[in-house]
C-alpha cells in the first residue's frame, strides 16, 4: 500500500471506532468490548504508521499529497493528507503512545462503570483521529481543524470525572484558555487566507511576521507557555493515562509540531523566533521552579512538561527546528512513561500526593524502575533519550547567541534534575506511608506499555541521525562544551536532590530554598490572576446584561409607555360634558375659519 493509503487508514480507522462507539449506545455502554474496539482501532493506526516508515524514506522524500476541496472546489480551501518524513514520524509517535496509553487504560480504569469506560474509549478514539488530522494536515486550515478537535477531546477527557466539581472546573478552564489562545491561530489563519488566498505551510508572504506571531500565540496556549500555561496543572484532574497522552506526550506538543511544520513561514519571521526563544526560556525556568515545590506527583510532572515544552520552543526560536522536533519525540516517550509510571503508583496508593507514597520501590520494583528510567531520561543523563535532545537544544541556543535563554535553560536543567530526584526519592524510597503498605504491582496490561515506553526512553536518543535523515536535516552526535556543561549541571542537580531528599533525609518535605517563591508564583499569583480575569469577565457581563435589560430595553418599553400615557392623558379631554364637545367643534371651526381667511 502506498503511504497515503496507509495514512488514510491511520486517520480513519480511529474515527470509525469513535463513530461506531458514539452512535451505538448499547455497544458503548458495555465497557470493555467497547474498549477493545478502540484499542483495535489504535493498533491499526499504529500498524499503518509503522508500515509507512517501513516503506523507506524514498517514498517519503517528495511527500505524498492528497487533498479534496472542502469549503469550495479546488485546493485553496482543501482538506486531505500530507505524508512526509516529519508527519510520518509524528504519526508513529502519536499512534504508539496512544496505543500504549489505551492498553494501559484497560488496567488503570478497570474499576470504572462500563458506561463510563465506553465513553472514555470513545473519546480516546476521537482523540487519535483528531491528532492524526493535525499531524497529517496538508495545510494550515486542516491543522486548525485538528488543533481545535484535540482541544475539544482534551476538554472532554479532563472532564471525564465530571461529577467532581474540581474536574469540571479544570475542564472548562483548559478549554477557555486554549480557545482564547486559538484566537491567535484563527487570526493568523484568516490573515494568511486574506493575503495569499490559501493556507499553504510554505506560503511566502510579507505578513509572515504577523501570521507567525499569531500562530505562536496559539502555541503558547496549547503548549502551555507562560502565561497561558495556567490550564495545564489543573488539567491533571483527568485520568492519569489521559495526562500521559494528551497533556504530556502528544497534544501539548502539537504546538511545537505546528511550528516545525510551518517552518517556512517562521523562517520569514526572525522577530517571532526571537520572542519564542525568550518566552520558551522563561517558561522552562519558571515552570521548573514551581515543579520543585509541588507535592502532587502529577503536578510535578505537569510543570515539568511545561518546562520541557519551553525547551522545545526555545530551540525552535533559535531556528533549529530539528532540535525542537527531536526533543518533542524523546520527550513524548519518557514523559508518557513518567506519567504512566506515576499512574501505576497512584493506582497502587489511590492518591496523587507524594506524602502518601514513599518506599514504593520495594513493593513495586517494575513500576519504580521504569519511573526511574523516565526520570533520568528527563534529567538528561547520558545515554538516555533526553540527554541527546537536550544537548542538541542547548547547543543550538548557544549557536545562535541567545545567551539569556541559554542561562535560563541551564538553570532549568539543574532544577529539572533536582525535582525529579526529589520526586523519585519521596515516592519510591524512604519510609512507606500508611497507604503504601498495601501497594502492589499492576497487571500485565499496564506493565506492557510501561515496558515499551521504558525501552524507547532508553534508546530513542540514538535514533537522532536517522530521524534527521527522515525529516531532511543533518545531525550527528558530537561532544560540545555547552552540551557537556548541561549534562554536568544535570548531574549536579541529581546530586543536590540526593543530598536533600536522599535516604539520609528520609524523603523529608521541602522546607528550604525557593519554596516560598514557588508557592507564591503558583498559588499567589497565577491562580489569583486567572480567577480575577474570570471574575472580571463575569462582572462585565453582568453590567452589560443589566444595561441591556434596564436601559436599552427600558428605552423600548418607555417608547411604548409614552403612547399609553399619552392616550391616558388625552382621555382627560373627553370630559363627558356635551358642551365641551361643542367647544371642540367651535375651536375647530375657529382655527379652520382663521386659516381660511388669513391664508
Amino acid at each position: 500500500m502506498t503511504p497515503s493509503t496507509l495514512a488514510l487508514l491511520s486517520l480513519f480507522v480511529p474515527l470509525g471506532a469513535a463513530v461506531l462507539l458514539g452512535l451505538l449506545g448499547p455497544l458503548r455502554r458495555t465497557g470493555r468490548p467497547a474498549a477493545f474496539v478502540s484499542v483495535a482501532g489504535a493498533l491499526v493506526a499504529l500498524a499503518g504508521a509503522v508500515a509507512i516508515l517501513a516503506g523507506g524514506d524514498a517514498a517519503l522524500k517528495p511527500g505524498a499529497h492528497l487533498v479534496w476541496g472542502w469549503l469550495s472546489a479546488g485546493p485553496a480551501t482543501a482538506v486531505g493528507i500530507h505524508v512526509d518524513g516529519t508527519s510520518a514520524w509524528m504519526l508513529l509517535v502519536v499512534t504508539l503512545v496512544a496505543t500504549c496509553v489505551q492498553i494501559y487504560s484497560l488496567g488503570y480504569l478497570h474499576d470504572e462503570p462500563p458506561a463510563a469506560l465506553g465513553r472514555y474509549f470513545t473519546y480516546q478514539s476521537l482523540f487519535l483521529f483528531a491528532m492524526n488530522t493535525l499531524v497529517l494536515a496538508p495545510n494550515l486550515l486542516q491543522a486548525f481543524l485538528g488543533w481545535e478537535l484535540v482541544g475539544l477531546v482534551s476538554y472532554l477527557l479532563i472532564g471525564f470525572y465530571f461529577r467532581k466539581p474540581s474536574a469540571a472546573k479544570a475542564a472548562v478552564k483548559a478549554f477557555w484558555v486554549t480557545k482564547f489562545a486559538d484566537l491567535g491561530f484563527l487570526i493568523g489563519l484568516v490573515t494568511l487566507y486574506a493575503k495569499t488566498g490559501a493556507f499553504e505551510w510554505t506560503a511566502v508572504t510579507p505578513v509572515a511576521g504577523f501570521v507567525t506571531l499569531m500562530l505562536f500565540f496559539a502555541v503558547m496556549g496549547k503548549s502551555a507557555q507562560f502565561p497561558l500555561h495556567i490550564w495545564l496543572p489543573d488539567a491533571m484532574e483527568g485520568p492519569t493515562p489521559v495526562s500521559a497522552l494528551l497533556h504530556a506526550a502528544t497534544m501539548v506538543a502539537a504546538g511545537v509540531f505546528l511550528i516545525v511544520r510551518a517552518e517556512p513561514l517562521f523562517a520569514q519571521a526572525p522577530m517571532t523566533r526571537e520572542i519564542m526563544a525568550y518566552v520558551g526560556g522563561f517558561t522552562a525556568l519558571f515552570a521548573a521552579c514551581i515543579a520543585v515545590v509541588q507535592t502532587d506527583i502529577k503536578k510535578v510532572l505537569a510543570y515539568s512538561t511545561c518546562s520541557q515544552l519551553g525547551y522545545m520552543v526555545t530551540a525552535l526560536g533559535a531556528g533549529d527546528t530539528f532540535a525542537g522536533y527531536f526533543h518533542l519525540s524523546t520527550h513524548a516517550f519518557f514523559k508518557a512513561l513518567l506519567f504512566l509510571g506515576a499512574g501505576s503508583l497512584i493506582h497502587a496508593v489511590h492518591s496523587n500526593e507524594l506524602k502518601d507514597m514513599g518506599g514504593l520501590f520495594k513493593k513495586m520494583p517494575f513500576s519504580g524502575a521504569v519511573f526511574i528510567i523516565g526520570a533520568v531520561a528527563l534529567a538528561g543523563v547520558p545515554p538516555f533519550a533526553g540527554f541527546f535532545s537536550k544537548d542538541l537544544i542547548l547547543e543550538a541556543v548557544e549557536h545562535h547567541h541567545l545567551y539569556v535563554p541559554l542561562a535560563a535553560l541551564a538553570i532549568a536543567a539543574f532544577l529539572t534534575a533536582f525535582y525529579m530526584t526529589r520526586t523519585v526519592m519521596m515516592a519510591l524510597f524512604g519510609a512507606p506511608s500508611h497507604a503504601a503498605e498495601h501497594a502492589h504491582e499492576p497487571g500485565i496490561d499496564m506493565k506492557l506499555p510501561l515496558g515499551v515506553l521504558a525501552l524507547l526512553a532508553i534508546v530513542a536518543g540514538f535514533g537522532g541521525s536517522w530521524l534527521a535523515g527522515l525529516t531532511g536535516h543533518e545531525y550527528a552526535f558530537h561532544f560540545t562544551l555547552v552540551g557537556g556543561a548541561g549534562t554536568a549541571i544535570g548531574l549536579l542537580g541529581i546530586a543536590t536532590g540526593f543530598w536533600m531528599f536522599g535516604p539520609a533525609q528520609g524523603g523529608a518535605p521541602i522546607k528550604r530554598g525557593m519554596a516560598p517563591v514557588g508557592v507564591f508564583i503558583r498559588y499567589g499569583l497565577m491562580d489569583r490572576l486567572s480567577t480575577v480575569a474570570y471574575g472580571l469577565m463575569l462582572a462585565v457581563g453582568a453590567i452589560i446584561a443589566w444595561i441591556d435589560r434596564y436601559v436599552i430595553d427600558g428605552v423600548m418599553n418607555w417608547s411604548g409607555w409614552i403612547l399609553l400615557v399619552g392616550g391616558r392623558r388625552l382621555r382627560g379631554l373627553q370630559t363627558g360634558n356635551v358642551q365641551d364637545y361643542v367647544y371642540a367643534v367651535a375651536l375647530g371651526i375657529v382655527v379652520l375659519g382663521a386659516w381660511g381667511i388669513l391664508r
Partner: protein, 519 residues
C-alpha cells in the same frame, strides 16, 4: 407537477393547517399526524428542490408566476436560487424537528399546529418569492402567528423592576409572556412599517408598475434614494434579525415561547430578517448597501460581542440561548456587511448552521424545562447523570455554537471572519472573534452548571432522558450539525453559486461609492 414544486412546498404546511380545521380539537393523534406530515412533506419538497436544482446553470430555477393583483403589478413570482435551496432545506429540517418536538403538547394542539404550519408556510414563501410585495406578505405571515403562539403556549417569566425606567413596570407587566408576545409583535411590526415604506419608495422609483425583484435588481435606483431607503430596510428587516438596539424583543420572546416556537423563531424566523436585508436591501439597492456597509458591519460586530457578553450574565437558560442567538445573528449580519464572497457565503451558511444549532438548543431546553420545571441554571447541576443523551446533544449544540470544527458553526464563522478580514475590516473581525470566544465561555459554563458536578438535587425528582419521539428531533438536528460541519459543500456550493451571481453588481456599486461618483 414538478414545475410547481416551489408552490407545492410552500403550500404543503398551509394545506395541512386547513385540513386540521376539519379535525375536532380533541383528536390529538390525528392532529399530530397531520402536523408532522405537513412538515415532512415540505421537507421532502425542499430536498427535491435541492436535488433537482441545476448547479451548473445556477440562477433562478423552477420559476412560476401566479397573477395576484395585476392592477398594481403584484404577482406571486416563485423561483429558487442557490440561497433558497439552502434555506429551504433549513426550514424543512427545523420544521420537521419542531413538529416532532411538540408532539407531546397537550394544551390545545389544534390551534398550535395550525398557527405553526401557517407560520412556516410564510417562511417557505419568503425564501423563494421573487416579488417584493408578496415577499412582504409572506414575511408578515411568518411573523404574526407568533403573538398567539407565545401568548397562549408560552411560559411566564419575571423581571425585577430596576433601572432608570423602573416606573414603567406597573403599567407594562414587564417580563410576562403576554408582555413578551406583545413586545415582539409590535417591534417587528414597526420594522415592517419601515419595510413597507422602503418598498413603496422602490416601487414608485421604478415607475409604479411592478414589484418584480428581478427587474428591480436590474434597475438602477437613484443614489440619494438608495441611501435613505437602505437603512429603512436594514432596520426594518434587521429588527427581526436582532440588530442592536432592536434586539430586545428577542430574549424575552424566546424565553417566553414554547419549545417548537422558539426553535422555529430563533432557527428560521430571525434568518428571514437577515435574508431580507441581503436579498432585498443589498441586492436591490447595491449603492445604498455599499454606503451603509461600514455601519451595518460595525453594528453587527457590536451585536456579536454584546450578545455574547450579555448571555454570559444570564441565569435563565432560555435567556442564555436567546442572547446567544442575538450574538450569532450578528455574525450573519457581519458577513453580509463584508460584501465579500466568503463573507456572504458565511452569512448564509451561518443562517443555516445557527438555525440548526439553535433549533437543537431550544429543543433541549424544552426537554430540560419540561422535566426540571425550572430554567434557573444556578439551581441545576449533575443532570448528565440522569439525562446523558440530553447532555451529549447539549454539548454538541454548544460546540457548534462556539465554532468547533466538525460542526456547521465553524464553517460559517470561519467564512465570515475571513470575509471580514478580506474586506479590510479588522475592527469588525476581531470583536467578532472575541465574541466567538466569549461564546465558548458561556456555553461551557452553562453546560458545566447544568450537567456536570454533583447532583441532581432531590427537588428535580422526575428527571429522565429523552424518550421515543423526542429522540427523533435531537437526532435529526444533531446529525445535521455534524454532517454539514464535515461536508459543508452539501449546501455551500448552492450558496456560493448564488453569491457569485449577486455579488459582482454590489462590488461594482461599492467601487462607485468609494470613488464618490457613478451617478
Amino acid at each position: 407537477m414538478t414545475d410547481h414544486i416551489l408552490a407545492l412546498t410552500v403550500a404543503a404546511p398551509f394545506v395541512a393547517a386547513l385540513l386540521m380545521l376539519l379535525v375536532p380539537g380533541r383528536n390529538h393523534p390525528v392532529l399530530r399526524v397531520i402536523g408532522v406530515t405537513g412538515s415532512v412533506l415540505s421537507l421532502v419538497g425542499a430536498i427535491y428542490v435541492a436535488l433537482h436544482y441545476d448547479q451548473a446553470k445556477g440562477g433562478l430555477q423552477f420559476a412560476q408566476n401566479y397573477p395576484f393583483v395585476p392592477s398594481f403589478g403584484i404577482d406571486i413570482r416563485l423561483a429558487a436560487d442557490g440561497w433558497s435551496v439552502a434555506l429551504f432545506l433549513l426550514t424543512g429540517i427545523i420544521m420537521t424537528a419542531g413538529s416532532l418536538a411538540s408532539a407531546t403538547l397537550t394544551n390545545r394542539p389544534k390551534e398550535f399546529y395550525i398557527l405553526l404550519l401557517v407560520l412556516v408556510s410564510g417562511v417557505f414563501g419568503v425564501f423563494v418569492c421573487q416579488d417584493l410585495f408578496v415577499f412582504f406578505l409572506f414575511y408578515e405571515i411568518a411573523v404574526l402567528p407568533m403573538y398567539l403562539l407565545i401568548g397562549i403556549w408560552g411560559s411566564k417569566g419575571k423581571v425585577a423592576p430596576a433601572g432608570p425606567f423602573k416606573s414603567l413596570w406597573k403599567d407594562l407587566d414587564v417580563g410576562g409572556k403576554e408582555y413578551a408576545a406583545m413586545k415582539l409583535t409590535l417591534m417587528l411590526l414597526v420594522g415592517s412599517a419601515a419595510i413597507l415604506v422602503g418598498m413603496l419608495a422602490m416601487y414608485f422609483a421604478m415607475g409604479g408598475k411592478s414589484f418584480d425583484m428581478v427587474a428591480m435588481a436590474h434597475f438602477k435606483f437613484p443614489r440619494e434614494m438608495q441611501v435613505w431607503v437602505f437603512p429603512m430596510l436594514w432596520l426594518g428587516f434587521g429588527s427581526l434579525a436582532g440588530v442592536f438596539p432592536f434586539h430586545t424583543w428577542s430574549p424575552d420572546g424566546h424565553a417566553a415561547a414554547p419549545t417548537a416556537v422558539s426553535m422555529l423563531h430563533a432557527g428560521v424566523l430571525m434568518k428571514l430578517g437577515a435574508f431580507g436585508v441581503m436579498r432585498v436591501g443589498m441586492i436591490l439597492l447595491p449603492e445604498g448597501a455599499a454606503t451603509w456597509a461600514p455601519i451595518v458591519g460595525a453594528v453587527a460586530a457590536l451585536n456579536v460581542i454584546y450578545g455574547a457578553v450579555s448571555a454570559m450574565a444570564q441565569k435563565d437558560l432560555k435567556y442564555v440561548i436567546a442572547y446567544s442567538s442575538v450574538s450569532h445573528m450578528g455574525v450573519v449580519m457581519l458577513g453580509a456587511a463584508t460584501l465579500d464572497p466568503d463573507g456572504w457565503n458565511g452569512a448564509i451558511y451561518q443562517m443555516f448552521a445557527h438555525g440548526i444549532m439553535t433549533g437543537l438548543f431550544f429543543a433541549l431546553v424544552g426537554l430540560i424545562y419540561e422535566r426540571a420545571h425550572s430554567r434557573w441554571v444556578p439551581g441545576m447541576g449533575g443532570f448528565a447523570k440522569v439525562m446523558p443523551g440530553v447532555a451529549a446533544f447539549f454539548t454538541l449544540a454548544g460546540l457548534s455554537s462556539l465554532g468547533m470544527p466538525g460542526s456547521a458553526g465553524f464553517v460559517a464563522e470561519f467564512l465570515v471572519f475571513a470575509g471580514a478580514w478580506k474586506s479590510g475590516h479588522l475592527m469588525w473581525a476581531i470583536p467578532a472573534m472575541i465574541g466567538a470566544w466569549v461564546t465558548a465561555v458561556y456555553v461551557l459554563r452553562a453546560t458545566k452548571m447544568i450537567f456536570w458536578g454533583e447532583g441532581p438535587s432531590h427537588e428535580f425528582h422526575d428527571l429522565h432522558d429523552a424518550k421515543r419521539v423526542e429522540w427523533a428531533a435531537l437526532w435529526i438536528l444533531g446529525t445535521c450539525i455534524v454532517a454539514f460541519g464535515c461536508a459543508p459543500r452539501l449546501v455551500l456550493d448552492f450558496i456560493g453559486k448564488a453569491t457569485s451571481e449577486y455579488l459582482p453588481a454590489i462590488v461594482d456599486a461599492a467601487h462607485l461609492v468609494a470613488m464618490g461618483g457613478g451617478k
